[in-house]
Amino acid sequence: MKLLNDDVENYRTGVGLLAIHSAISLNDAITVGLTGKRKTYQDHARAARELERTCSSNRISDKKGVDHLKWLLAHKNDVAYQGEPLDDASVKMAVDKAQRFSAWAYNCFEEVLRGV
């Protein structure tokens, strides 16, 4: 994502997709690390709700990361299927949200994600 982001002009859709999928994968890693099971959802919004529940059950009060994930999931269909390419602001926002989600996840689930 970072490498392609140096050439947004040519890879804007790729950057957006990688931002979203990196967050989905990291969220999966949290779930697998905590429960040993990988969950699949038809409705991506459920993944965010599940993460919110995971935070509550692990007494994590800082839920900023859930908001970042929600934003990314809400834009998944737009990024993946819309005919028009994303504008610069949307790509920048997707990268920003993905990086903030990663930082939050590694801070809040450090033990689970260490080594991932």
């Binding site: 990086q99 903030r100 990663s102 450090e110």
Partner: protein, 165 residues
Amino acid sequence: MAYRPVLSPEQQQGRAKNAVADLLFRQLIVPKIFFDAHWPSRRSRVDVLAVDRSGSGELHAAEVKRGRDLNTEVADLIARLSQIPAHFRYLALFDNPKNTRPRSEMLYSPDGIGRIGIIEVREDPLGNLDARISVQPERFKLDSSVYKMVDRFTASYPANREVRP
């Protein structure tokens, strides 16, 4: 020819450290970066220390040196880098018109697991700095207890550069 301001050695050193931090920030995943880090103890100091994955990942340590001064101090520098507990270690060279480098065999760990990487920091005619890895580092072997030290370190010192959640 572009006007070039005359900067003090400390300013030049600071710019080079910043360029190295930029490089590590781009290469790593949401790292926490510390300048002049007291790592691994209060008495020691590393020019640039980056801890990958927001403080939970591997350690990258870089010492920044003017290339033109390298010959006189190279053995000391390599010895110092060898003592720093970091998975990846770099010697960053700037202001290096003769492209001086340490002898390649000096960069390797005695047990063969780990090689110090070389970063070249170059300034273009407009005064822009660019840091690139010219010798890829190889990962050093560290005990997992280093992560407890890292946790204490990141809890004690605020990062100079990080992605805020």
